[in-house]
């Protein structure tokens, strides 16, 4: 892999497949994706709803819901394979080595438990601390995530916090045991626009301080532009383009990535109105032959309808599109 520094990646995913068994056969939710995240690096995973971003996140933490299951490939955390761990071993990895942040802070916290109780139970599950020490650590964590007066607020119930404050508590919970990796699944989607930037900045700052790697799943290109080091663009269960954030935002290559970028208002300099990608993503049950994007692609040509393009290196990035393989052949 050319885009990865020499030191060992925190997370390494190779040829991952996730299937959902149904009455009508297996649906391929994730169809052979590979990526790495280096220590302290932020990888943004973007795509439309149903592209497989969240399923990828769930696969990494081992929480895919039945009937979904990993049907191939491997996931390594700091070199150790984790996709085939037993339930109990995987539980020890979750929360301890991989923290998770969910989309909706309003529903992520148990309404019947004080936030302090939820923090200390997480801390004491993973770290050998006394109740008193765990509480002290919980207060520190709340202070770190910017909760004012944490000594008092620790005994509040979730409903006594605003959405943004609750998401801060969720971040504190994700970081409670100093994980190597945080998987953040649409962490700002459910929040007010005014709060979104604060939360993103907070995640970025805390992870940078701790050297924690982040897998940031989102459909918001603005968030990616601000936060990510690397970007993976997903479409219909596959990564269509992956590379450094500046490259992909500045000069997207895959027609789908290009469509996504032109949908960001601030980044489109010479267009008066937003460009829409025509059509919608195909259902997993009825994926077209060849490139899954070809029915919506404005640069589609004959081979796209029959042969599926594989990711090929193009400088610092990898692109899965016949457009470029053909260019090469022609030149």
């Amino acid at each position: 892999m050319t885009d990865i520094p020499t030191n060992e990646p925190v997370l390494s995913v190779r040829d991952l497949h996730v299937d959902f068994s149904t009455r009508r056969g297996a649906l391929k939710a994730i169809d052979g994706i590979s990526f790495d995240i280096a220590p302290g690096e932020v990888l943004g995973v973007v795509g439309e709803s149903g592209a497989g971003k969240s399923v990828t996140g769930s696969a990494v933490v081992g929480l895919i819901e039945p009937p979904g299951h990993i049907s191939g490939g491997e996931i390594r955390l700091a070199g150790r394979r984790i996709d085939n761990l037993g339930a109990e071993e995987m539980r020890r990895v979750r929360g301890k080595e991989i923290g998770m942040i969910f989309q909706d802070p309003l529903t992520s916290l148990n309404p019947l438990y004080r936030i302090g109780d939820q923090l200390t139970e997480t801390i004491r599950t993973h770290l050998p601390l006394s109740a008193r020490a765990a509480r002290a650590r919980a207060i520190d964590l709340l202070a770190d995530v910017g909760i004012p007066a944490p000594e008092q607020r620790i005994d509040s119930y979730p409903h006594e916090f605003s959405g943004g404050m609750r998401q801060r508590v969720v971040i504190a919970l994700a970081l409670a045991a100093e994980p190597k990796l945080v998987v953040a699944d649409e962490p700002t989607t459910a929040l007010d626009v005014s709060v979104q930037a604060q939360i993103i900045a907070l995640i970025k700052k805390l992870c940078a301080e701790r050297g924690t790697a982040v897998m940031l799943v989102t459909h918001d290109m603005g968030v990616i532009a601000e936060t990510a080091d690397q970007v993976a663009v997903m479409y219909a269960g596959r990564i269509v383009e992956k590379g450094p954030v500046a490259d992909i935002i500045g000069r997207p290559m895959h027609p789908y990535a290009r469509g996504l970028m032109s949908a960001i208002p601030s980044l489109v300099s010479d267009a008066d109105r937003l460009v829409q990608i025509p059509g919608s993503m195909p259902r997993l049950a009825s994926l077209p032959d060849g490139c899954a994007f070809h029915p919506r692609c404005d640069r589609c040509f004959d081979i796209c309808t029959t042969l599926r393009p594989e990711p090929e290196p193009r400088g610092a990035r990898r692109v899965a599109c016949h457009l470029y393989t053909h260019e090469e052949m022609a030149s």
């Binding site: 709803s49 149903g50 919608s280 993503m281």
Partner: protein, 315 residues
Amino acid sequence: MTPDTPSQNTTKAGFMARLRDHDMTASFLSSKVTVGAAIVTVLLMAGALLAPLLVASDPFDPTTVFIMDSHLPPFWIDGADPRFVLGTDDQGRDLLAAILYGLRVSLSISILGVLFATILGVGLGLVAGYVGGTVDAFIMRVADVQLTFPVILVALLIDGMVHGALKGVGQEDTAFGVLVFSITLSFWVKYARVVRGSTLVERNKDYVHAARLVGLPSFIIMLRHVLPNVLGPVLVILTINFGLAIIAEATLSFLGVGLPPTEPSLGTLIRIGQQFLFSGEWWIVLFPGLTLAALVLAVNLLGDWLRDALNPKLR
């Protein structure tokens, strides 16, 4: 959240469309239990309907019943009489015939009661939702208070009140009507709540305002939109209520405030048969009991399936 969620479509699609949906038929056929329950229900209903054709004589016609035939056991036990497959009771009545005729009575009362309750509940729900204000508040308060009390208690109270009011009139003449009346008044609440909720939603939609503007009777137009929406839930409630009504009728008759021994339902037969349990004549109570249990279980299984099939979220 997801832009391609088809929730709008599923809620708007009428009940008939969902009935045609092949998933529902598939779920029906894939469940052997449901098919079995449907067969049992149909068989019992057919037995009740065709009772006069299936058995030789009316077991409650004193001219055809002979006391010498009393206390005969079912056919596989010594001393049985081949004329009486399931044996006879203390009066010498053929138990099979008594059960079929009893089933007839039980089913008639439950079906009529639930049907009237459905009409009453749907009607009151529509009125409460459409008229609103005091009428709505009154209907729903009554529903709330009634819902606090178990159905069987409400039915008993109504039964007791009617008997108090009609003192002097024989139980034989009024029992059937009183039972239907009790069931109707006990089972309307759930319909009213569901229909009212749906009516409230429809009432504020544009087409209702538009209809009112052009002077059309908006109530009638709205009705056409409300009914298809609530048909599914109403059908589920109807099935569940049918099972409950059968139990309610049987219980009232068992308690001795329902049908008299001269015109027995399944509950009455069990009440009569219970007395012979200690003398070893178990069949007099067992066969009516089994019939009742099979009927209620089959109806409940159908209700369960219907509820799951119409509510994909629960699957």
